[in-house]
């Protein structure tokens, strides 16, 4: 082969590679922008964070601060990422750490404390979960067993109303749950079984394993991938929220007179979600204003019909149709903040041993 020709061709090749590399690097640098521009805050959230399109416009008009929402997986994944990047965060504000995962985030010092101007309007029970204001409560909901009413009516089987009932042979191969290790409703459900069954919780899971419970990666995969009432799946019982039935009505066209699904009130565990300012943010002052906005009436009143959770700000009005179809268990199952903080890892470890390995 002609050596000169080869050299020229190689040189061209090398030039091309350098050009491509240069372009890639340059575009990255360009994306970083300059400091004179108005501040854009990055709000990290889980996949279920779906406020009304353009809700941040009024915030931007008032403060000049832009908000970019970035969703990354389930709450469990979100918190894991936040823990690994503690002090050098991927965004400025995080939405969606809940009381089941809070201790993990606080142990890793993920947040900087801030007491919001709306502090006194917030549900006091939720506020006590973060006594040093490390995070601010933003909403609440109840994680419960949901079932497909039609499915049970067609077969003339009584739907399961308690956790114990689920171990009966009648309900064999009917339940699908999100993985407690990666999903926060999944973890809430695991805690519900511990709150309800006490020392027998592991025995209960063992019987559930024999009774064909299906564990999938995320809540959306369980609900929209396997639940008979919301997908072409074959599982008529699912772990979801007490506020999922109203969602089935309000999103349906035409609207049915009653919800096609129902929540079993005796299986519910109350879940509080929080937002916090990520330690290491370069825009702490702006992040505080965003936290204030997230618990303001404007934002709180948007929550019920977009994310199907209850507002945490007591002054917010809840739409009548949401109240009509929702179940708010009067005495939900509870587990103390301290018990979760001490035992979360061990419980998950025991669950994994039983169900995942």
């Amino acid at each position: 082969m002609n050596n000169e020709g080869l050299r020229i061709r190689l040189r061209r090749g090398v030039t091309a590679v350098i050009a491509v590399a240069g372009a890639v690097v340059a575009s990255t640098l360009a994306a970083c922008g300059t400091s004179d521009e108005p501040v854009t805050l990055t709000l990290l959230a889980h996949d279920s964070f779906t406020p009304t399109e353009g809700i941040f416009a009024s915030f931007t008009a008032e403060t000049g601060i832009q908000v970019e929402v970035v969703r990354s997986g389930d709450a469990g994944t979100l918190v894991t990422k936040a823990v690994l990047s503690a002090g050098n965060p991927e965004g400025d504000v995080l939405w969606g750490v809940d009381n089941t995962l809070l201790s993990r985030a606080l142990d890793a010092r993920v947040f900087v404390p801030y007491r919001t101007v709306h502090h006194d309007d917030l549900d006091p029970e939720a506020v006590t979960l973060a006594p040093a204001n490390e995070v601010t409560p933003v909403d609440s909901g109840d994680v419960c067993i949901n079932y497909d009413k039609q499915w049970f009516a067609d077969r003339e089987i009584a739907p399961p109303l308690t956790l114990r009932a689920l171990t009966l042979p009648t309900y064999r191969d009917l339940l699908v749950i999100p993985n407690p290790v990666s999903s926060s409703p999944g973890l809430a459900f695991l805690l519900a079984t511990i709150a309800d069954l006490g020392d027998e919780w592991q025995l209960w899971w063992k019987s559930m394993r024999d009774n064909g419970v299906l564990v999938v990666e995320s809540w959306s995969d369980a609900y929209y991938g396997h639940f008979t009432a919301a997908s072409d799946g074959d599982r008529p019982i699912v772990v979801s929220y007490a506020t999922s039935p109203p969602a089935e009505v309000i999103f349906a066209d035409p609207r049915p007179s009653e919800a096609p699904t129902a929540a079993a009130a005796l299986t519910c565990l109350r879940q509080y979600e929080f937002a916090g300012i990520l330690r290491g943010t370069k825009h702490e002052a702006e992040a505080r204003r965003l936290i204030d906005f997230l618990v303001s009436r404007t934002f709180q009143e948007d929550l019920p019909l977009t994310q199907f959770v209850w507002p945490i700000n007591k002054t917010a009005t809840v739409p009548q149709e949401f109240l009509d179809y929702s179940l708010r268990p009067e005495r939900p199952l509870t587990i103390s903040r301290a018990a979760i903080a001490t035992n979360r890892a061990e419980w998950l470890e025991q669950f994994s041993s039983l169900m995942l390995r």
């Binding site: 082969m1 990290l44 990422k81 991927e90 999938v216 470890e349 390995r357």
Partner: protein
């Protein structure tokens, strides 16, 4: 009087110079900082003694070990069954289309494991998602190439006259196979089995995507403990258990494979032309193999252009115009950097291996060590080590590439060392006589001679980086997730449009990897050509 030196001593003495010192320094510093330190930090700062006992005495740990073992053995067996016909064909016979066929079988190996997972999701019926069958098929899919390459090359050099002689002397066909072909191929089969076993044993992305949350290998259990539960200590125990098991299995298989019987060695004739009587059979094998390899890929492209049951390019539009495009740029950036760093580090390692006797041999064996450290463990180590003050590099754009060099360099060294050894020593001697300095000789003789090998190595490193999932899933950050990480995240969600986006991104990844493969193929083809000159 100066003592007389042997030739080898003289050679070593001559070459322990500034260039080799620089090469050693570079390699040692790199691996000390980015491999040894993170593992050290994991052990010294995160491992607690009580956890060793806790993890090892837990029955479920051993269930995971058992699952890792049997699914990988099943995968090895499945791979050999699927690969046997095409390997025999490619290894024994010369025919038109042999080279493209070989290249086609390699595609699977270079494809990202996430993409192979996605491809089987796209192709298999829903009832087979989250099943062990899907996992084993996907494993076999990307390991067929190993059998074709490793065992095929051995078959190529097998002297068929030995078999003919045996037949003439009255041996039946199976007897000839058992006494001639098998002893000669045993070692190659053993090596291929080890490689496949390692890939399947430490499988992460495939079991994640196709196995569902209730099937865990040791590797995915490490991730589950470390990231799901936050039990870094338990994860570290498992990581070391995994290394121990790998070492044990590899040494057992190597011993079983044994040495090649020397009395059967013979000169290597080139493969014979395809005889008339096997033409039909050959055509069948070629057709089936090509279909098996192409089908999952076509399924990915097909699904990328469908939203629900309708034809739509919305998935592609999203990949090219929304923030998903950031992951394309992130992957390219990481892959290019991995390529450059990988070639530099591998060249430095190969230089030492080729030029220095004692130290070279040590480095030669040591250079495979990074492969035994699982990517998830490495990612975990890096993220807990470089997390404060000036060495908080978690958000640095080059951090993922650092982890990727650990997977790429060992492979590149394996490619570079034989090529480097093939440089005729007279070229060096001539250059020395003409007064060239050592550095000058390195550039004008070695680098010039090895240019094509370097290009091939670059392509290989780029392909490795494009596909790597374990470390990237831990290290890559918002707005700069690599493509496999983005694909896996999209696959976990539901919704027709999101599925289409996942498959569009996976399609693009296939295109990039095939591009890298073509670079490797054309560079090595050119090299062979130049060698025949």
């Amino acid at each position: 009087m100066m003592p007389r030196l042997t030739a080898a001593q003289r050679r070593e003495r001559v070459t322990t110079t500034r260039v080799s010192q620089a090469a050693i320094g570079m390699v040692v510093v790199w691996f000390a900082v980015f491999l040894v330190t993170p593992l050290g930090v994991l052990v010294t700062q995160n491992l607690e003694w009580a956890d060793i006992q806790r993890v090892l005495s837990d029955v479920s740990t051993w269930r995971v070990v058992w699952f890792s073992l049997w699914q990988s053995m099943l995968s090895v067996a499945a791979t050999f069954v699927i690969a046997a016909p095409v390997t025999w064909l490619v290894g024994r016979y010369e025919f038109r289309g042999r080279r493209p066929l070989r290249a086609l079988t390699t595609v699977g190996f270079l494809l990202p494991s996430v993409v192979v997972g996605a491809a089987f999701l796209a192709m298999l019926p829903r009832s087979m998602h989250s099943s062990i069958v899907a996992v084993v098929l996907a494993h076999a899919y990307f390991n067929v190439a190993v059998v074709v390459r490793v065992v095929g090359s051995r078959l190529e050099t097998l002297d068929i006259r030995l078999v003919e002689a045996a037949r003439v002397l009255g041996a039946s066909s199976p007897v000839a196979m058992g006494t001639i072909v098998w002893p000669l191929c045993r070692r190659a089969v053993g090596s291929a089995a080890i490689v496949i076993f390692l890939y399947c044993f430490t499988s992460f992305a495939v079991v994640r995507v196709l196995g569902g949350p209730t099937r865990n290998t040791i590797e995915s259990d490490i991730a589950l403990r470390a990231f799901g539960i936050g039990d870094i200590s338990g994860a570290t125990v498992l990581a070391f258990l995994q290394v121990a098991l790998i070492v044990a299995v590899v040494s057992i298989v190597q011993r079983a494979a044994g040495r090649e019987p020397s009395h059967l060695r013979a000169a290597a004739p080139s493969p014979e032309a395809l005889p008339q009587r096997v033409r039909g059979l050959a055509l069948l094998v070629v057709t089936i193999t090509s279909a098996l390899i192409a089908m999952p890929l076509l399924a990915v492209f097909w699904r990328s252009a469908r939203v629900g049951d309708e034809f739509s390019l919305e998935g592609w539009r999203a990949v090219l115009t929304t923030s998903l495009f950031n992951s394309v740029m992130a992957s390219l950036r990481t892959a290019i950097l991995t390529g450059v760093l990988g070639v530099l580090l591998a060249a430095a390692t190969a230089f030492v291996v080729v030029r220095m006797r004692g130290l070279g041999r040590v480095l030669d064996s040591a250079s495979v060590i990074p492969l035994a450290v699982s990517p998830v463990t490495l990612g975990l180590g890096l993220v807990v080590t470089f997390d404060e003050s000036w060495y908080d590099w978690r958000a640095a754009w080059w951090f993922v590439a650092v982890a990727h060099t650990m997977s790429a360099v060992p492979l590149l060294v394996r490619v570079l060392v034989p090529a480097w050894r093939s440089i005729p020593s007279r070229l060096h001697e001539a250059a020395t006589v003409l007064g060239a300095s050592e550095f000058r000789r390195l550039i004008d003789v070695d680098v010039r001679y090895l240019k094509r090998t370097f290009v091939a190595g670059l392509g290989l490193a780029v392909a490795v980086s494009l596909g790597e999932f374990g470390a990237a899933s831990i290290l890559s950050r918002r707005g700069a997730e690599t493509m496999p990480v983005a694909v896996a995240r999209l696959l976990e969600r539901t919704g027709d449009l999101i599925r289409a986006q996942a498959f569009a991104l996976a399609s693009l990844l296939i295109v990039f990897c095939v591009g890298a493969l073509l670079v490797v193929e054309s560079a090595t083809a050119g090299r062979r050509h130049a060698g025949n000159r």
